[in-house]
């Protein structure tokens, strides 16, 4: 059974779907012969050729617009934004067209496309290479936003995203692209979208997170366990639509919740989770909901970026604070 990293799982899923669905096309900057700046499409051009793996002119608006146009005509484009920070010019086509065409035409024209982008900070990159814009996309009606946090979930969720009949933004946590390997059978089995994954059982507090911060959150859960605090960890995975039921079930058991995300705090996805907890879980809570997030500033250049990002220590502190309430 192959052991693969998260980014190798992405490549594996792309290859599987290109092989099995003739309408799937990969397009983006440097995705062809070069195999992508992070190597997400490594080897695909040699395997499938220029009709399936398309290098585009260097223009993000063009990539998004072409993908939308191809999807309208029945293809399944998987477009790549080279970095999260370069995705902003693409938003016009996502917000105005990809997300709306089915609704606008009462189902006549659809947009089954995936927009992939390396996502998040912590790799000592230049400016615009470390952004976490998931909340901006989650606010758009008509869109799915997915962030895997392990090789197996990257493989299964990317397959599901490509097969979905509607547009999906697929953010890949670049900090953990090569963090570890795990067994991911290349069997074409998709994982379900629209559900959270409980990745560690616990009874005292629920830690909710996604993407690269699953790593620090699990480390925090280990530390807390050493103090006799049992933390349950939920990987949200599909940011929108949010599977609040899974989070709620966990909070019913624990009575406490801390949300961890690296994006800026205000109007972050954590705010939506906290709002739903306030609406639907107030009487299940024994402690105020906590948030460990990035600050409301642009992610700093790399001399300071680790001080911006949530750390294991900050997560442990927030959990200890919640544990003061009985």
């Amino acid at each position: 059974m192959p052991q693969v990293t998260l980014i190798e799982a992405v490549t594996q899923a792309l290859a599987y779907e290109i092989r099995h669905d003739p309408s799937v096309i990969v397009l983006g900057e440097d995705v062809g012969v070069n195999g992508g700046v992070f190597r997400a499409t490594a080897g695909l051009h040699a395997l499938f050729g220029s009709d399936r793996i398309l290098d585009t002119p260097l223009d993000e608006t063009t990539i998004a617009g072409l993908a939308v146009g191809m999807a309208f005509q029945g293809m399944r484009p998987v477009a790549e934004a080279q970095f999260d920070g370069f995705i902003y010019p693409m938003i016009d086509h996502i917000a105005c067209h990809a997300t709306r065409m089915r609704n606008r035409t009462r189902g006549r024209v659809t947009c089954p496309m995936v927009l992939r982008a390396p996502w998040g900070g912590g790799i000592r990159a230049p400016e615009h290479h470390s952004e976490a814009p998931e909340a901006m996309f989650a606010h758009l009606p008509g869109l799915r936003v997915v962030i895997p946090s392990s090789p197996a979930r990257a493989y299964g969720l990317l397959l599901a995203a490509i097969r979905d009949p509607d547009p999906v933004i697929f953010f890949e946590p670049k900090r953990i692209y090569r963090q570890y390997k795990e067994e991911v059978p290349d069997d074409g089995e998709a994982l379900p979208l629209d559900v959270c994954f409980v990745i560690r059982d616990g009874s005292d507090i629920t830690l909710v997170t996604w993407g690269a911060h699953v790593k620090e959150t699990l480390e925090a859960a280990d530390k807390l366990a050493a103090e006799g605090i049992s933390a349950e960890v939920v990987d949200v995975a599909t940011i929108k639509p949010l599977d609040f039921d899974t989070i709620h079930e966990s909070v019913k058991k624990t009575g406490r919740c801390v949300i961890v995300h690296e994006a800026a705090r205000t109007c972050g996805v954590g705010a939506e989770i906290a709002a739903q907890l306030a609406e639907k879980a107030m009487f299940d809570l024994v402690a105020p909901v906590g948030r460990v997030t990035g600050y409301d500033v642009p992610i700093p250049l790399f001399r300071l970026e680790m001080k911006y990002l949530p750390s294991t220590e900050k997560i442990v502190a927030a959990a200890r604070n919640a544990m003061r309430y009985r």
């Binding site: 096309i25 009709d51 398309l54 585009t56 002119p57 223009d59 608006t61 063009t62 998004a64 617009g65 072409l66 993908a67 939308v68 146009g69 191809m70 999807a71 309208f72 005509q73 029945g74 293809m75 484009p77 010019p89 016009d92 086509h93 105005c96 067209h97 065409m101 089915r102 609704n103 606008r104 035409t105 009462r106 189902g107 006549r108 024209v109 659809t110 009606p141 008509g142 799915r144 009949p165 509607d166 629209d194 929108k240 639509p241 949010l242 599977d243 609040f244 039921d245």
Partner: protein
């Protein structure tokens, strides 16, 4: 110093504003019946357009974008396309769309605030009206890329205005068309005004057609008030694209005789004299003069046809006015292939408010 590239832009006109041929007409224009059909379509469009404006003025339609003055450009584009081609409009190309089978009632539904207008009659692969300027150009280029990859002999055609040709999306489309040799025709219907901003303020370029040079594709300009010229250049561009020989930028020079939309008042920013002069160049008059000179059309035929157009348009207006609004849950039911769990509660709330 040496010259590394040179270019020139050709201009095509077949009928002058008085309806006199400036040279031998193309073969298709020697078919009198075809010319009468084209005239009738333009004439119908004008009757429809006036009715739509009147409906807006009397509160029976929302904001409406008139196509007054664009009849030759729009009908001509429609005449040059095949049903399997893909048309990506902006928001006033009803003449193209009627040619392709879209019904006037669909247009009225759209501007009348009902999404079902965009689930129109006509080719199911055509895109609906596109409000964000020039974004449709890249969708057309994407469609053309799909045709090329699937080896289908189909062509994608988009329309933008003179203002739209300033947008990065327009440039992205012609640049992609050049980079991938796409079966794409990017039409600029240059009507001289982008709401209140004149053509001269959009760019320093002498023609808008020459923007195609930057994308490495052919470009041509034609008299957009002369339907014979429009069809000639569009047919050549579409045939070339279908034959796998790449894309073209076509600039059709015309004039927006109406306000930008019914929400606009063009008297605020342009001179009456300019509009008066433009009326002397308008497209229906010159084809009618030519047809009358050829004894292909008469005063009697004109009045009979106008009356028929009026009846047809009235029937379409009635069909629109008689259509009941959608149920409230329709705002949820077409967003995704299947309603996601997070919308179930909101949908139920909306229905709940309806049933109180």
């Amino acid at each position: 110093m040496s010259t590394v590239a040179k270019f020139q832009i050709e201009y095509v006109q077949h009928l002058d504003p008085d309806g006199k041929p400036v040279g031998p007409l193309p073969t298709f224009a020697q078919d009198g019946k075809r010319l009468v059909d084209l005239y009738q379509r333009m004439s119908f469009l004008r009757v429809f357009d006036a009715k739509a404006v009147a409906l807006q003025r009397t509160g029976k339609l929302g904001t409406y974008a008139s196509c007054l003055g664009h009849e030759a450009a729009h009908v001509g584009i429609g005449a040059a396309m095949l049903p399997e081609d893909v048309f990506c409009p902006m928001y006033r190309e009803y003449g193209v769309q009627f040619y392709r089978g879209v019904k006037p009632r669909d247009v009225l539904m759209y501007w009348g605030g009902d999404e079902r207008g965009s689930d129109f009659d006509g080719p199911k692969h055509d895109l609906p009206w596109c409000v964000p300027i020039a974004t449709q150009c890249l969708h057309a280029a994407g469609a053309a890329l799909a045709f090329k990859l699937r080896k289908e002999p189909r062509v994608a055609v988009s329309v933008v205005g003179d203002g739209g040709s300033s947008k990065t999306d327009f440039y992205g489309a012609i640049n992609s068309a050049g980079a991938y040799a796409l079966p794409y025709v990017g039409v600029i219907v240059n009507n001289q005004w982008a709401i209140s901003v004149p053509r001269s303020a959009q760019t320093g370029a002498l023609t808008l057609a020459q923007k195609g040079i930057a994308g490495g594709i052919d470009c041509i300009q034609a008299d957009g008030n002369d339907i014979i010229a429009v069809i000639a250049v569009m047919q050549a561009a579409i045939d070339k694209a279908r034959a796998g020989k790449g894309g073209t930028v076509v600039e059709l020079v015309t004039y927006r005789l109406s306000d930008h939309t019914t929400a606009d008042d063009a008297r605020r920013y342009r001179e009456e004299d300019e509009v008066k002069s433009a009326w002397l160049l308008e497209p229906l008059l010159r084809l009618r003069r030519y047809l009358e000179a050829q004894k292909l059309w008469s005063e009697k035929q004109e009045s009979d046809w106008k009356a028929r157009c009026g009846e047809q348009v009235d029937a379409e207006v009635n069909a629109y006015l008689e259509t009941k609004p959608q149920p409230v849950e329709a705002m949820f039911d077409f967003l995704f292939a299947e309603l996601p769990h997070d919308l179930v509660e909101q949908r139920a709330q909306a229905i709940g408010w309806e049933n109180r």
